[in-house]
């Protein structure tokens, strides 16, 4: 920074800091998905179709999550039904 810069108004938050923040969020998110089996999205789609036969739900209303606890995996299914 030059001597003259001291008289200028303060600069806004640096774009590098924004880049780092955005990267930390997206990388953490993608690492979470990395270990899920390939069949999970297809299975989620099929489960959604079955539920839709009975109740009108949107894609976002069905959450399928696979968690590993030591030597067993837990498949968690969350469906938000319209009230």
């Amino acid at each position: 920074m030059s001597f003259l810069d001291y008289f200028r108004s303060k600069r806004p938050a640096s774009s590098a800091a924004t880049a780092k923040e955005r990267l930390q969020v997206i990388v953490a998110h993608e690492r979470g998905q990395r270990n899920q089996p390939d069949y999970l999205p297809a299975m989620q789609q099929e489960i959604l179709e079955v539920i839709r036969k009975y109740v009108p739900v949107e894609q976002d209303d069905v959450q399928v999550q696979l968690d590993e606890n030591g030597n067993c995996s837990v498949l968690e299914l969350n469906v938000t039904l319209p009230g």
Partner: protein
């Protein structure tokens, strides 16, 4: 026992081939017999960067298909003793590289060389997966820029799940971060991710930082690996990286702006 090192990145245009050429040359300069293999089938370019494009007769795919012997396809580098190049094929057949074929060629190369440097194509398709599949070590070339860092993380995931070492449950592929096109002035102005930022996100050991330099383009214009230019900062940075790869301790250089004189700073000049 030969070491197989893949130079990979996910994203294109970050400096994989430049880095493969520099590091392969550096290893050979230090007395280790080395071969650099171009895995970019259909988009051969290592030959141009190494300045041997007019000497390509047979290629990697010819050897896999038994149309040529390894000796016929290997190009001996004219500048550096003990360095060879195995060029990629220009075929448009995406399935030209088979796992068995690559395994066979690598097994033969392992008998002759100390280091096998695999220059990966961009992307995460078959070619990139073949380049990293047999690797003992991986140099992940990254630019201090969001899309490059994200893609590097993706390729690290593939190394950790789809490499032979991962499949067979052996020791993991040894990962190295090589940050290229680094511009210290822009980092201190807050316009570019710093080394520390990228290390924080990718969380793998730092092999080297190559400053952005006009000498890199000059080197590729001339078909001479930039590491041969010992006056160029980028050449010196690659030399340090090769020493670190061989287990030597080298302090990181070129991370800060070059010192400017008092008057230049007073007037706000930037190098």
């Amino acid at each position: 026992m030969a070491r197989i090192i893949v130079v990979t990145s996910g994203k294109g245009g970050v400096g994989k081939t430049t880095s493969s050429a520099a590091i392969g040359t550096g290893l050979a300069q230090r007395g280790h017999s080395t071969v650099i293999i171009d895995f970019d089938v259909g988009l051969r370019n290592l030959d141009l960067i190494m300045g041997c494009e007019r000497r390509v007769v047979y290629d990697f795919v010819n050897v896999i298909n038994g149309e040529a012997t390894l000796n016929q396809a290997l190009i001996k580098d004219k500048r550096t003793e003990g360095l060879y190049i195995l060029p990629a094929s220009q075929t448009r057949d995406k399935d030209a590289l088979t796992e068995e074929g690559v395994a066979k060629v690598l097994a033969e190369l392992k008998q002759r060389f100390d280091y096998i440097v695999c220059d990966s194509p961009a992307g995460i398709e078959k070619g990139a997966q073949m380049a990293l599949y047999f690797a003992d070590e991986a140099i992940v070339v990254t630019n201090p820029e969001v899309s490059s860092v994200r893609d590097s993380d993706r390729i690290l995931g593939i190394l950790q799940s789809k490499s032979l070492r991962a499949r067979e449950g052996q020791d993991a592929v040894k990962e190295h971060l090589l940050l290229t096109r680094y511009n210290p002035a822009r980092v201190s102005a807050g316009e570019m991710l710093s080394v520390a930022d990228v290390e924080d996100i990718l969380a793998i050991p730092l092999l080297g930082v190559i400053p952005e330099s006009q000498d890199v383009l000059k080197a590729s214009n001339q078909g001479e690996p930039v590491i041969l230019n010992s006056e160029a900062l980028a050449g010196q940075a690659y030399s340090d990286a090769v020493d670190r790869l061989l287990g030597e301790d080298r302090a990181h250089r070129f991370l800060d702006e070059e010192k400017q004189g008092f008057f230049k700073r007073l007037l706000g000049g930037r190098g």
